[in-house]
Structures are given as C-alpha cells and as structure tokens.
C-alpha cells in the first residue's frame, strides 16, 4: 500500500513556551487504509502532531506530505479537504444551530450545490443513525450524539483520512463504544485511513499500529499486541492496561501462568476454556484443609 501521509523530521515550538519543543524531529508514514493510534502522556505533543498534519499549526521545521501534496501555506486547503478531524469537546465543534445545519457546514464550505447537499446530509445522518434528530438543536443532544453528528459532517464530505483527536475522551462508555463501532465500520467499508489520538485502550486495540509519543519525540512504533505486552509500563506511556493483561497479572499472583505476550479477549477466553476443560477431564476438586 502507498503512503497517504508522510511526516519527515517534524518539529514545532509553541511561541510562548521557551523550554523544550512540543514536537521534536518526528518522522513516520501512514499507509492508505491503515488505522494508526498515537498514544502518549498528557502534554506529550500528540494533539499538536494532529493539528500540524492538518495545517492548523505552522510547524517550524520538517515536512508533511498528505496524499502526495506537500503541506505549505498555499496547499493547506488542498490538504485539509482530504482530512476530516473530530476533536475532543463535542459541544465546542458544533457550528450549526441544528443537526442538519452542522452536517451541511463542511459541504457549504466546499460550495456544493443545495439539492446535492440535501441528499448528502440525509445520507450521512442515516449512516450514523441520527436521521431522526435532523431538526434538533445541539443543546438537546447527549455528548455521544453530538460526536456522531460530527462524524456525519465528515461522512458527508467523504475525506480519505479521519483524525480522531481524543474524540471519545469526554463520552460515557456507551457513547464511546457506539462511536468506535461506527468508525470501525467506516474504516472497513470506505477504506478510510484513521489516525486516532487516544488514551482509550479499546481505541488503541482497534489500530493496526501504535505510535508512542513522549516529550515531543516518537519513542516506539509497534503493533498493538507488542505494545500491550509491556504490562505495567503502559500506564507510564499514557495508556490503561487492557483487561486481559490485568487478568493475566492477577492469575500470575495466584500461581497460574497464562501464556506470555498480549492476548485479545477471544484468545484469553479460548486459553481459559482449554486449560479448564483439560483439568476437568481428570476432576480434581480444590482441596480444603
């Protein structure tokens, strides 16, 4: 697969901060159709990285190439039209007075004619399951619903790349699950390239690859399985420990050794079944003193 985003030696320093740079010589590629998660501590520079890729921050050094277009002051709109971004706070990125106005906002900016807009807005809302809410005002929606509307706004303009900048971090567990399921579906059906910046373990587990950013530097780049195998060090990296890893630790403390390395829930389930049905073949009741 070709690279849809190439980042070379990207550096950025906030104008008011005199100390360390927010981004320090970061280089990585994203392949078309890939799901990439970027994780790191608060203040590690991961959100700055997302904004730099979209041209929302004028980086001091380095090069960003999106879909073959090098990001400069002249090409910034060409780059932005290929990228859809969802931010953290669902309330603060809602531009329209009603749901349908908000979904239409991106289309209006692209000067799409009105009859085409009406069709696309309806389709996008259908896609995210918000068609019944088209006339509603943002203040009457839940956080998860607002993020789904934000996603509809992106579906309507059909970009090649979707950047989730901690988009699920202010949602409740249900809202988060629903949102991720939607993104997963879009990723599969539309061959959308997804970059998710996150602390959420499920979101990171959905990725094909995880980048770990620390202090503005890229410190690690690996598959989710390899990253999750690091156990307690994950908390240092700004991630939670996956449930299966917690279970493995708890089992080890009780003298049972599960297979080393990261197990998905299905794998762990399978292993537990296997080992328990083996023991039940020769029934040994736990001996009570």
């Amino acid at each position: 697969m070709e690279n849809i985003i190439e980042v070379h030696q990207l550096s950025y320093q906030y104008p008011d901060a005199s100390e360390r740079p927010a981004l320090n010589q970061i280089s990585f590629d994203v392949r078309a159709g890939e799901w990439l998660a970027i994780v790191g501590h608060n203040g590690s520079g991961k959100s700055t990285l997302a904004k730099a890729i979209d041209g929302l921050l004028p980086f001091t050094e380095g090069e960003v190439i999106v879909g073959g277009v090098a990001l400069t002051a002249d090409t910034v709109w060409q780059v932005r039209h290929q990228i859809g971004m969802i931010f953290q706070n669902p309330d603060n990125q809602f531009v329209g007075a009603t749901v349908e106005d908000d979904v239409a906002f991106g289309l209006e900016n692209r000067q799409v004619p009105r009859d085409q807009m009406i069709k696309q807005v309806a389709e996008a809302l259908q896609r995210v399951g918000m068609a019944d809410f088209a006339q509603r005002a943002p203040s009457s929606l839940s956080g998860g619903q607002k993020q789904r509307v934000a996603l509809a706004g992106i579906v309507a303009v059909a970009p090649k790349i979707l950047i989730l900048d901690e988009a699920t971090s202010m949602l409740d567990p249900q809202g988060r699950q629903a949102m991720l399921a939607l993104v997963r579906e879009l990723h599969e059906t539309q061959h959308l390239t997804v970059i998710s910046i996150t602390h959420d373990i499920d979101e990171a587990a959905s990725a094909n690859r995880i980048l770990v950013v620390d202090d503005g530097r890229l410190v690690q780049e690996d598959s989710p399985a390899a990253i999750f195998a690091q156990g307690e060090r994950l908390i240092e990296l700004g991630l939670d420990v996956p449930f299966t890893a917690k279970l493995a630790t708890a089992l080890r403390q009780r003298g049972i050794t599960p297979p080393s390395g990261y197990q998905t829930t299905a794998e762990m389930e399978e292993w537990l079944w296997q080992s328990l049905s083996n023991t039940s073949a020769t029934p040994t009741k736990p001996t009570h003193p």
Binding site: K51, D54, L56, W77, R80, H81, I83, G84, M85, F87, N89, D91, N92, Q93, F94, V95, G96, A97, T98, E100, D101, A104, F105, G106, L107, E108, N109, R110, Q111, V112, P113, R114, M117, I118, V121, A137, P138, S139, G153, V157
Partner: protein, 266 residues
C-alpha cells in the same frame, strides 16, 4: 425570566408560523409605520381589527399576549400619565393646578399613545412567538444582502449571528452550572447589599468569559478543519422560499394602508 414573552417561540403550525420570516420581518417593520400614520379613532379601530385578525390567524391564544404585555404595563402607564398631565393647553381644559394641565388634547393623545404601545408590542410579540430565532436570523441576513453594495460584510455578520444564537443555550447552561458550583463553595447570589451582590457576580462572570473564549478557540479550529475560509465563497443549505401566502399578506397590508389613508382625510 419566564414572565417575559419577548424573544420566545411558541411552536404551533398555523399559517402565520409558515410565512417566510423575511416577509414577517418586513411586515412588522411596515406595520409600525402604519401605526404612526393612523391619526383618528376610526383608523385605530381598523388597525385593531387587522391586529386581532393576525392573532386569530396565528392560532396563539389571546391571553398569552396579555401575559406578555403585563410586565410592560408600568412603562406604558407612566408614559400615558406624563402625556395626560403635562400636555400643552389645547381644547377644553378639564383640570388645572400650578403646572399640571389635563386638557382635552392631552386626554386624546394619551389614548392614542396607549393604543400605539399595545399594537406595536402585540405585533412584535406575534413575530417572535411565531418565528424561530434561527429563522429570524436567516431572514435578517437575507434582508441585509443589499448592504453588500456599501461594503457591509453581510455573510460574516450572518455567520456571527447564527453562532451567537447557537451558543445562547450552551452558555446559559454553563452559567447555571458555574452558579451552582460557586454556591456549593459558599457564594451567595442575590444576597446582601448592592456592592456585595455585584461582588458575588465576579466568580460567575470571570469563569464564564474564560470558558466562552476557550469555546471560541476550539470552535474556530474545528471550523477551519472543516474547510471554512471565507464566508463569501460558500453555498447555502438553509434557503427561504417566498410563497403565495406571503404575497397575499401584502395584499391585506395594502388594503389596510388604503383604508387608513382614507380615514386620515376624513
């Protein structure tokens, strides 16, 4: 707050509700001119008839208007009283004491002013009750279009207006939240002397402003990320359509105007 009817919207589905908001704005504006054209009892009677007709067509119960006028009644009575007591001498003098003159001229004028107040308030309340704020904003933006020729940034103003309207409920919720949070920490709102009350507003206003600025920052970044560059080069999702019923309202208005002009000569 809930007593004030002004600026509130009552969702019903009458013919007045379905009129083009531009039409309603223009009609309300021209109606005010009509009210000032009226100069005798017969012309006011015609105006009252037309106003009642408009209320009837909107299917909004009359008592809601009465409730809307109630908070303003003191202002109206104050103005009427001034007119009544301090009018210049003219016609028959009913009562005279040092500088207070109650004259025939004064009584008639006070009556006119009372009716004018009522008519204008009723009609503008009808406008806001039957039109969603968003539609008023869209209508205003559309009516301001000609100002482009004198270099007024109409599209940007329309964008500002729609963002302002969209954030009113959000900021209201926020204000309530901050107030409750500060109450939980021991701030008394609306208690004590004037200075103490004003000081208690500080822990509300400062966080509210800071939060509004943060929201503005987030919103502008999100807008840019969604491809917003210049308000002039955009297409429009929300479009108003002028229908036959809108034309009919102007025919009715023209009839009213003609009747009042005839009455003036009488």
């Amino acid at each position: 707050m809930s007593k004030f009817l002004f600026g509130r919207y009552l969702p019903l589905n009458s013919i007045v509700h379905r009129l083009d908001p531009r039409n309603k704005l223009l009609l309300s504006f021209c109606y005010i001119i009509l009210v000032f054209l009226a100069n005798n009892w017969l012309s006011y009677l015609i105006l009252i008839a037309f106003t009642l007709g408009a209320i009837r067509a909107s299917t909004i119960p009359l008592r809601i208007f009465v409730r809307g006028i109630r908070p303003l009644i003191w202002l109206i009575l104050f103005t009427v009283a001034l007119q009544l007591l301090f009018s210049p001498t003219g016609g028959h003098v009913y009562f005279h004491w040092t500088f207070i003159n109650v004259t025939q001229y004064g009584v008639v004028n006070a009556g006119y002013i009372f009716i004018r107040f009522l008519l204008i308030i009723t009609m503008s309340t009808l406008l806001t009750l039957s039109t969603q704020p968003l539609d008023i904003a869209t209508g205003l933006a559309s009516l301001m279009k000609p100002l482009r020729w004198v270099r007024v940034p109409v599209d940007t103003l329309a964008m500002m207006l729609s963002i302002a309207l969209r954030f009113v409920p959000t900021l209201m919720d926020e204000a309530q939240k901050i107030m409750n949070a500060q109450r939980a920490r021991g701030v008394d709102f609306g208690e004590g002397g004037l200075i103490k009350q004003a000081k208690a507003l500080l822990p509300l206003m400062v966080p509210l402003f800071i939060s509004a600025f943060n929201r503005a920052e987030d919103l502008s970044i999100a807008m840019e990320a969604r491809g917003y560059q210049d308000s002039e080069h955009r297409s429009q999702y929300r479009i108003l359509t002028w229908q036959r019923r809108d034309t009919v309202t102007w025919l009715i208005f023209a009839l009213g105007l003609a009747l009042i002009l005839i009455c003036r000569r009488w």
